[in-house]
């Protein structure tokens, strides 16, 4: 089996669709990957609320809309480029382009227009630092991850995960006009969370990825090495998840919740590492995948709740100049 991307074969699995478009409004909405977008919106909102406020609430709401549209644009461009892969994977075969309801050109044009529009509007609504960060995020997801890393290396989602991790920093910059250690820490947590989250799914769906020629870690290095990597990342993530409470971003509630959830994450990663055969292995991987979603949502939610409720953060252990 080869995982090299054959450009001549690219997009050949996508059925040609002669004649006028059959795409409905719901197909354009599907291109935006609404479920992914919801996590982006939520993490960007947390960045906005946690940042030192300096933006009118109405402009902040428009900025959040721009970040959401930028994330959706990335999804549309991803579906345009990956239509050949999507066509052979059961999870994605019914997406608008591989299903033949929309031409790749329509998806591409939609994504480009939304990308440019969201970046420009974010610049006008908030500031050009945030707009630049949003443009970088879209570029990184579409060009670095989708076009380059995804078909080339099993480290695809490790490096590409940066794009999914950026929204809190974009939100933070939109409100405050700066990037800070706190926003970088939120990015680092999502960045470190991404590999075990996706590899847990890849352990279950490895046949799908192998059929599509995507070099996910279980297909290339095998399930055992994937389980080892998941455990290593979980061991790194758990203390990193607690760190906001040590640098003046989280309070007692955050410290308690992140500690308990971090321990739960590691225990589930250990279960994935130990259960390697049959239904038990599948159940352990599925359990970690589900828990990882709860973990990230809860960590971000508690930052949000503490800020909105006015709960003070714990004293920072960092030196004053940081």
């Amino acid at each position: 089996m080869t995982f090299a991307h054959d450009d001549t074969a690219a997009h050949t699995a996508v059925p040609a669709m002669p004649g006028p478009s059959l795409a409905g409004v719901e197909d354009y909405i599907a291109l935006l990957k609404p479920r992914v977008m919801s996590l982006v919106v939520f993490s960007a909102l947390v960045g906005m609320v946690a940042a030192p406020s300096g933006l009118h609430p109405v402009l902040a709401a428009i900025a959040l809309l721009c970040i959401a549209v930028g994330a959706g644009a990335s999804g549309a461009l991803n579906m345009w480029w990956d239509a050949d892969i999507d066509a052979v994977m059961t999870r994605t075969a019914n997406r608008p382009v591989p299903a033949g309801r929309m031409t790749p050109g329509e998806a591409c044009a939609f994504g480009v227009v939304l990308s440019v529009g969201s970046v420009l509007m974010l610049g006008l609504a908030s500031n050009w630092l945030a707009a630049g960060l949003l443009a970088f995020t879209i570029f990184f997801y579409v060009v670095i991850y989708t076009m380059w890393l995804k078909r080339w290396t099993p480290q695809n989602i490790v490096i590409g995960g940066l794009a999914g991790a950026m929204p809190p920093m974009v939100g933070w910059a939109a409100v405050s006009g700066e990037v800070s250690l706190h926003s970088a820490l939120l990015v680092a947590i999502i960045f470190m969370w991404t590999p075990p989250h996706f590899w847990a799914l890849a352990l279950i769906k490895s046949d799908d990825y192998a059929r599509a020629g995507v070099p996910m870690l279980p297909c290339v290095a095998g399930p055992d090495e994937t389980r080892r990597q998941i455990l290593l990342y979980a061991l790194a993530l758990a203390p990193l998840g607690v760190a906001p409470a040590l640098v003046g971003l989280g309070g007692w509630l955050y410290l308690a919740l992140s500690s308990v959830l971090g321990l739960g994450f590691v225990l589930r990663a250990v279960a994935v590492y130990r259960r390697r055969e049959g239904e038990a292995a599948r159940k352990a991987a599925g359990g970690l995948f589900g828990f990882s979603l709860i973990y990230l949502f809860a960590l971000l939610a508690v930052v949000l709740v503490e800020k909105l409720a006015g709960l003070p953060p714990l004293p920072s252990l960092l030196p004053g100049w940081m």
Partner: protein, 54 residues
Amino acid sequence: MADKPEPGVVLTEEQKRQRGRRNVALAVTLGVLVVLFWVMTIVHLGGNVLNRPM
């Protein structure tokens, strides 16, 4: 006698329906954009909107 002109692309009822829905969605999006730009302008101007020579 000249040949009858070809009818060109003839849309099916489903294609006509989808095109209509896309047009409505595009119109709504454009309307929302107009409102957003208007709101952004007003918020950016703030109280300065009244601070001009009359």
